[in-house]
């Protein structure tokens, strides 16, 4: 093996057995704090989200109740018009002996 090939072999092996570099304790601490702070923020976001969803559901229920009540009032008056129409019709039949 010539000098060049030997040199290349030595270069290729120069990172063999290299020790792992340690992450700075300061950076490690920063990462840990960030994870812990993120959890606190996530909790409060979840909490306000629950309240918002509850408010929307309550609104939907209220709208439905209002609609049902309005409908039942108007259907009461429409029932009266059907009755009066029916009685007019049948009196017409009686009047003309049809």
């Amino acid at each position: 093996m010539n000098a060049k090939e030997q040199w290349i072999d030595t270069a290729i092996k120069s990172l063999d057995g290299v020790e792992r570099a340690a992450l700075s304790p300061f950076v490690r601490e920063k990462i840990l704090r960030r994870m812990q702070n993120s959890e606190t923020v996530t909790d409060s976001v979840k909490f306000s989200l629950v309240w918002k969803i509850a408010a929307v559901i309550l609104l939907l229920i209220s709208l439905n109740v209002f609609t049902i009540l309005s409908f039942s009032k108007s259907s009461g008056s429409s029932q009266n018009s059907i009755k009066s129409l029916a009685s007019e019709y049948f009196s017409y039949i009686d009047h003309y002996n049809l």
Binding site: K4, W7, I8, T10, A11, I12, S14, L15, D16, G17, V18, E19, R20, A21, A22, L23, S24, V27, R28, K30, I31, L32, R34, M35, Q36, S38, E39
Partner: protein
Amino acid sequence: MAEKNFILRLKQGHQNAYGELLDLFSDKVFNTALGLLQNKEDAEDITQEVFAEVFQSIAKFRQQSKLSTWIYRIAVTKSLELIRSRQRNKRSAIILSLFGKEGQIHVSDIAPFYHPGASLENKEMSAILSDAIRRLPLNQRTAFTLNKLENLSYAELAAVMNISVSSVESLLFRAKQKLRELLGEYYEQNMK
């Protein structure tokens, strides 16, 4: 089973699980990023981003792979994203310089990288090898770095890179061939 319980504790947000996660993986992630990026500050930034991603995504982790595979994959992805964005910026700067804008471009202005874990007698040689590694295509660079610096087996590498074991073997073979070629050129230019 132990890993499953650990992942469950992470998903449930147990505080001491975060500390354990860092104990197990912070140096691995840092060294992966350091090997790929060859810059301590960049590697520290990427390490922070990796754990932020792990923390945000752990609830969606379906355990189809090992936890270590998943974390290595995130570390590699984020490191390569940074390399690619720097390459794009460099290309834009070169184009701008052709039009006489944005000052001068220094193409080979990268300082030599001395791996903090390399032994004293190998420091210079390892810097030359690191420079050659930097010139490899990204997939070869990833395979070589993870195999050489993180001692990942072919099977582990295949899982991290989401390729077959035979593809890993091929990548490593081509990486070593290319490195020999680059080192040969360096020898011709500097050692004769």
